[in-house]
Each structure stands twice: as structure tokens, then as C-alpha cells.
């Protein structure tokens, strides 16, 4: 009897020890995973901030050996290509998403959904290769347009899927109410369903835009890069990310430092994008669930 009690005590003890070890390991994993993030943020901010000044935003890059200068052309270039990408990715992605959620409960819808997933898994460098042969070769020219198209293609699947998901969670009763008032389906979708789902969709658009803002690979051989001021969409154009890549590889300390500053500016740009959307999408009425 006593022996049995001891045995079960021992068993309980063992259980508890294993419990403790495993739970600690899980906490440890969380801590380990956080460390690189802290390091990356720390280095980007501390190294980037030392060369961050107004010149960076309004001056052009200086030749090797001349300190100072900025990346005005790259900031504008990134924004231009985001604009082109957005004006392709947002309408295509949103329309496709609306189709999927409102009409897509059929075979065609499932195929499109699957292809959107496929597209979101395609490495961005592959998109770059395709846009190179589709746009750059026929135009015989690297261009902002090609870069923008590449970014647009990358944005499409994210926007499609979030639009699809966000419209789906709009309660069916809302649609039925609108339809029962004799409002045509398309007006119901545009004025009532989209309006209700707008916040979620905007978040998806923001996500797609900020990811596109950080893309480098698809720009390498579409927009190429440009050391000079250019806002023409038919010409090669600079971008922050390609500058970071080039300047990071360069054997000049000035340029290396500029790369860090560009990285900081890029992350700030991405944060501003998210802040902007949060302000825009703050709806007049809170939707109670």
C-alpha cells in the first residue's frame, strides 16, 4: 500500500518536472526569437539616425568620396513605383476579391482562389524575371513603369484574398436587408457591404503597399536604378531598396552609412503608410459585433 503511494508520488513528481521543463522551454523559445528583432531594430535606428538629416530627403546622391548628399531621387522613385503598383494592384485585387466573395462559390471561383494563393507564393524575384521579358524587352528599356508593374503584380494576391475574406465576414443579414429594400445587388455590394468591410480591406491594401515598398528583388532588372533625378515612367528610376542593396555591397564607408539611413527611412515610410491608413479608415461609427 505504502509502496504504491510512493510510486504514484514519484510519478506525479516526474509529471510536474516535465511540465515545468517544457513550459520553460516554450518561454525560452519566445525569448530567443525576440532577440534578433531587437538587434535589427537597434542597429537600424542607431546606425541610421546618425546620418539622418534634412539633406537626405532633398539632396541627390554624392559621388564616392564626397560626404553628405541624400536620396531624394530614390524616395521619389519608390513613391512613384508604389503609385503605379497601387493603381494596378488595388483595382484588380479588389475587383477579383469582390467577385470571389459575391459570385465565386463555383468552380471558377475556387480555381481563381487557388491561383491567387499560388501567385502569393511566387518569389518576387520570379515576378521580376517575368516583367523583364514582358515589359523591359519589348520597351527595350528598364523603366519605372516596369518596376511599378512588378510591384502591382506582387500586391494583387494579398489584396484579393483580404477583400474576399473581409467581405465574407460581413453578416448575410445586412445583404438581405439591403436587397429587401429593393437595392440592386451591385449597389448593395458597393455601398453597404464594401463600406462595412472597408476597414479590413484597407488593412490588406496597406499590408500589400508596405510589402511592395520593401521589395528589392523585382526591381533589380525592371526599374534598375538611377543615380540621377528622374520622374519619367519610361526611364530607369531609383528606389530606396535598390540603393540599400548597392550601398551595402559597396566598399565605401560613406555609402554603407547611407545604406543604414536609407533602411531607417524605408522603415519609417512603411510605418507612416500604416499610420495613414489607420487614420483614414477610422470609421464614423464603431461597429458593434
Amino acid at each position: 500500500m505504502e509502496n504504491g503511494a510512493m510510486k504514484s508520488n514519484l510519478y506525479l513528481y516526474k509529471k510536474k518536472i516535465i511540465n515545468l521543463i517544457m513550459l520553460s522551454l516554450s518561454v525560452l523559445a519566445a525569448v530567443i526569437s525576440i532577440i534578433p528583432l531587437i538587434f535589427i531594430i537597434y542597429y537600424t535606428v542607431s546606425k541610421g539616425i546618425s546620418h539622418l538629416n534634412i539633406d537626405f530627403f532633398i539632396e541627390m546622391p554624392k559621388p564616392v568620396g564626397e560626404p553628405g548628399g541624400g536620396m531624394a531621387n530614390a524616395i521619389v522613385g519608390t513613391l512613384i513605383m508604389l503609385g503605379i503598383g497601387g493603381s494596378i494592384g488595388i483595382p484588380v485585387g479588389m475587383s477579383a476579391g469582390i467577385y470571389l466573395s459575391e459570385f465565386g462559390k463555383n468552380k471558377f471561383g475556387n480555381v481563381v482562389r487557388f491561383f491567387a494563393d499560388v501567385l502569393s507564393g511566387v518569389p518576387s524575384i520570379v515576378v521580376g524575371v517575368v516583367v523583364y521579358s514582358l515589359v523591359v524587352i519589348p520597351m527595350k528599356q528598364f523603366s519605372a513603369l516596369a518596376g511599378g508593374i512588378a510591384l502591382g503584380i506582387i500586391m494583387i494576391p494579398t489584396i484579393t484574398r483580404t477583400t474576399d475574406e473581409m467581405i465574407k465576414i460581413v453578416p448575410q443579414s445586412l445583404r438581405e436587408t439591403a436587397l429587401s429594400l429593393g437595392i440592386p445587388k451591385w449597389k448593395t455590394t458597393v455601398s453597404i457591404v464594401l463600406k462595412t468591410a472597408w476597414k479590413g480591406i484597407a488593412t490588406g491594401i496597406l499590408l500589400a503597399l508596405s510589402r511592395a515598398a520593401g521589395e528589392t528583388a523585382p526591381l533589380l532588372f525592371t526599374a534598375l536604378g538611377n543615380r540621377f533625378w528622374s520622374t519619367s515612367i519610361g526611364q530607369p528610376i531609383a528606389s530606396l531598396t535598390v540603393y540599400i542593396y548597392d550601398y551595402a555591397k559597396a566598399p565605401f564607408e560613406d555609402w554603407n552609412n547611407q545604406a543604414w539611413t536609407a533602411a531607417l527611412v524605408l522603415i519609417i515610410l512603411i510605418s507612416i503608410l500604416s499610420l495613414l491608413f489607420k487614420i483614414i479608415t477610422r470609421s464614423r461609427y464603431n461597429i458593434k459585433q
Binding site: 453578416p171 448575410q172 443579414s173 445586412l174 445583404r175 438581405e176 436587408t177 439591403a178 436587397l179 429587401s180 429594400l181 429593393g182 437595392i183 440592386p184 445587388k185 449597389k187 448593395t188 455601398s191 453597404i192 463600406k195 462595412t196 470609421s283 464614423r284 461609427y285 464603431n286 461597429i287 458593434k288
Partner: protein, 249 residues
């Protein structure tokens, strides 16, 4: 007595599932028709067939539904729905719109843009729905912040604003407290002067209080249809009597 809607041999399906079997009912003008029956008997489906909402959830229909002599199953559902307004079980104001915009929604999206006229119709509808006095100072606020009963009257106002001929009500008071329920019932009494009303309810007392005629549906079939008084005092069929006396269902 004029017939507003004549339903003939109506069959309704969900996929292969037949939920209404050969239902024929004449619905008289400016009266209240109550549809009663146990859950799943097809009473909501019947209501939704009348304004072509059944197909919204993927259902199909056979038979004819004549509204003033025109078969609505052959007409554009959008136009049909403007003539037959619907009130749902749960009050469902549009969450992104103010009280005013809610009532004006049907007008706005049906192409009516004259501001003055819209404002007049909104006021008139809210008055008809007995809500005007409670909300006239807060028209720009969200409809979501009203009480359940107020929300339901807001939905009624929203429906009235598109000036329908028939109002379909799908258990309009089942989610409300007794006082709000009384208000809705009083309202139904007022509304039947101008509208034909079809109300689905599982509440026997409510049916006997508000309706002029009552139809009893069971398992998708119309069992008995007669004046409300008759159904509740001396129905023809034993089955009906058992149901209205609360012996099953």
C-alpha cells in the same frame, strides 16, 4: 374584399429538399395575415418567396405568385422588393450609417437624390413608425446605439420609406422585450390602414391579437387558412386545434 397577392401551387426548394408543398393562399388587401406553425414548417420560407428573397440563399421556386395580377416570379427581383418591404427577426440597422441615412438608404440607392424630398420622406416614415419623437434630435447618430425596440421601429421606418405596398414581417418582435413588442403590435394595427401585412410568428397570442386572417403551415403544407377568429375558436381540423391550443409544436 380585394385580393392583393394570389399564391398558387407554390413549391419551394433548398437544393433537392422541398420545403413548401403546393401552397395556395389569397392574401387580402389592407389586412393582416398571420402565418403560424412549428419551427421548420416553412413559414419563413413562404414569406421570403413573396419578395424573392428565397433565391438569395440559393433556394428555388415553382408555381406562381400574383401581385395585383402580375406574376412576380417572372419579374425583376429588385423591382419586386421595392413593392414588398421586409422586416427581419433581428433588428438590423446598417451599422455604418446614421439614423437618417438608414431611413434614407432605400431611397438613395434607388436613385432618389432630392434632399428636401428625402428629408420629408424620412420624417414621415419615422412618424409612421412611431419613432420620430424619440430620435428627432439625434438623426445624425448611429442607429446601432438605439434600444432593440427602437432599432426594430427604425427598420420599419426604413422599409416604409421606399413606399411599399406590402410589408412582410418575419417574427418582428421575437427578439424584443414585452413593452417593445406591444409597441410593434400597435404599430401593425396602424399600418394596415395603408398596407397589406403578412406576419410570421410563433407566438399564438400575437397572431390572434394582430391578424385578421391566419394560415397554419405544417411540414411545408398549408393545413388550414381562415379568419383568425375562426382558427383560434373553432378550426375545421383537429390538427389546427391541437396546435393553437399548444398541444404540440
Amino acid at each position: 374584399m380585394e385580393i392583393k397577392i394570389a399564391v398558387k401551387n407554390l413549391n419551394a426548394f433548398y437544393g433537392k429538399n422541398k420545403v413548401l408543398k403546393n401552397v395556395s393562399i389569397d392574401i387580402p388587401q389592407n389586412k393582416v395575415l398571420a402565418i403560424i406553425g412549428p419551427s421548420g414548417c416553412g413559414k419563413s420560407t413562404f414569406l421570403r418567396c413573396l419578395n424573392r428573397m428565397h433565391e438569395v440563399v440559393g433556394g428555388t421556386v415553382q408555381g406562381s405568385i400574383m401581385l395585383d395580377g402580375e406574376d412576380i416570379t417572372r419579374k425583376d427581383p429588385v423591382l419586386v422588393r421595392r413593392r414588398l418591404g421586409m422586416i427581419f427577426q433581428k433588428p438590423n440597422p446598417f451599422p455604418t450609417m446614421s439614423i437618417f441615412d438608414n431611413v434614407a438608404a432605400g431611397l438613395k440607392y434607388n436613385g432618389k437624390t432630392d434632399k428636401k424630398e428625402t428629408a420629408e420622406i424620412v420624417e414621415k416614415s419615422l412618424k409612421q413608425a412611431a419613432l420620430w419623437d424619440e430620435v428627432k434630435d439625434s438623426l445624425e447618430q448611429s442607429g446601432i446605439n438605439l434600444s432593440g425596440g427602437q432599432q426594430q421601429r427604425l427598420c420599419i421606418a426604413r422599409t416604409l420609406a421606399i413606399q411599399p405596398e406590402v410589408i412582410l414581417m418575419d417574427e418582428p418582435a421575437s427578439a424584443l422585450d414585452p413593452i417593445s413588442t406591444t409597441k410593434i403590435e400597435d404599430l401593425i394595427f396602424e399600418l394596415k390602414k395603408n398596407y397589406t401585412i403578412v406576419i410570421v410568428t410563433h407566438n399564438m397570442q400575437q397572431a390572434s391579437r394582430v391578424s385578421d386572417f391566419t394560415a397554419f403551415l405544417y411540414m411545408g403544407e398549408l393545413i388550414e387558412y381562415d379568419a383568425t377568429k375562426k382558427i383560434f375558436t373553432s378550426p375545421e381540423l383537429k390538427q389546427t386545434e391541437d396546435y393553437v391550443r399548444g398541444r404540440f409544436g
